[in-house]
Every structure is written in structure tokens, then in C-alpha cells.
Symmetry: C2
Subunit: 95 residues, 2 copies
DNA sequence: TAGATTATTAGCTAATTAACTAATTGTTGT
DNA sequence: ACAACAATTAGTTAATTAGCTAATAATCTA
């Protein structure tokens, strides 16, 4: 739980999660969206991985990162429940 | 937003919020629930205050802390929305 | 006014964080 | 085998964090 909130406490990492929500991406592809050095971004990815919020799959020389939505959901849910709040998938909006 | 998640990333502070959810309390009353020194607890309160999650009211020599539930709710909501999740007050359970 | 009480501030330490550059690892293509 | 590429690790730095004790501030009460 602490690891999840720690991970979410940095805006860069929150943005990474948002990007991954759109689609899974390689480390390099993700890094292109930011001005930080690649090693710095790699460290951010590691924090997200420790928190369980993303998973990494090596494909050739690249590493594909995927958002683990259920972990994010469960973490928010578990915390929110303590405060009498519920977290649920939003109702669909018409496209 | 970062300040809120930063505040929530520490288990002691999360516990403080839970306690305040039951009822508002003075700094000393809160501190009794923990083994840390009072200055350490005071620092935790300050972090929560900066995040806007609690408010402090001085009453005589004591300081009463109150949970600002709406701030917590809005922060979770704002974040969750980005990921297609909704946060709402839970349905009442029968007492 | 002096003492007791409540809480915070000051000042310290050890550990962690977020950033960088340089070096390394692992994989692909020639 | 070697060069190029993708990503991470190593090593450094400055800033922040979470804990402590001691000191201070503010308020009450005898």
C-alpha cells in the first residue's frame, strides 16, 4: 500500500501510468514523452514495478511495460473502503 | 495531488486519518495512539495539513485536528477519473 | 507571577530520493 | 566477430524524509 502511494506521489510516474493506460509501450517509447534522461526514467519504471503497478516483458532488446490496472484498482479500493468510499469502473460514455 | 499521495504514502499518517475519521482529536490524543515522540507526530500532522487533508483549530492550549473528508474524496476522485474509475460514498450498511 | 501542560520549532543524524553521466549488459544485424 | 542499439546498473550529488532530544511558545491554574 505504501509502495503504491509512494509511486503515485510523483507526477512523472502518474503520467507514465496514464500513458500506459492508452497502450503498452517500450521503455524507450515511454521515455520519449519526457525530458529526463533514460536512466532516470528507468528508475521511475522500477519504482512502478516494485509497487506492482506495471509489469515488464522483455522482447528482444526492448522491454515492454504494461499497466496492471487491477492492482491500481485494488489499491485504491482497499484504501477507499477504510473511509467509507467505493471505487468502481466508471459507467461507459457514448462514443 | 502529489502532496496528497505523499501524505498517504506513510502508514502512520494513513492511520492518523483513520483515527480522525472516527472523531476529531487533539494532537496529544492522537499522539497517544502511537509510539513515536510527540515532535515526530507533530511533523506528520504538518504533512497532512500541507496536503490539505486535515485542518487544525487551536482551542486553549490544545489543537484539535479534523479530517477534511471532501479533500480526500476529491483527490481520489480526480485521480481515479483519469483511469476511468469512479469514487463515491459507499452505500449505507444497516446498523 | 510561577509552574505545569500542550504543542511546535530548532537542530541533528541516517536513510532515501531524484536527478545526472559513464559504464555495462544483452540483443540484433552485417 | 563487431558495431549499433535498448535498457539497466554503477556511482555521484543535492535535496528531502523520518526519526530523535532539547528548547521555545502559548496557555491555563494555583
Amino acid at each position: 500500500m505504501s509502495n503504491v502511494f509512494k509511486a503515485l506521489s510523483d507526477p512523472t510516474r502518474r503520467r507514465v501510468l496514464e500513458l500506459l493506460r492508452q497502450k503498452s509501450m517500450t521503455a524507450g517509447e515511454l521515455a520519449e514523452h519526457f525530458e529526463f534522461s533514460k536512466p532516470t526514467m528507468s528508475a521511475h519504471f522500477a519504482v512502478l514495478k516494485v509497487a506492482g503497478l506495471v509489469e515488464a516483458e522483455k522482447q528482444g532488446k526492448q522491454v515492454i511495460y504494461r499497466l496492471k490496472m487491477s492492482v491500481l484498482e485494488d489499491a485504491l479500493f482497499g484504501f477507499a473502503k477504510t473511509f467509507g468510499l467505493s471505487v468502481q469502473p466508471e459507467k461507459e460514455t457514448k462514443s
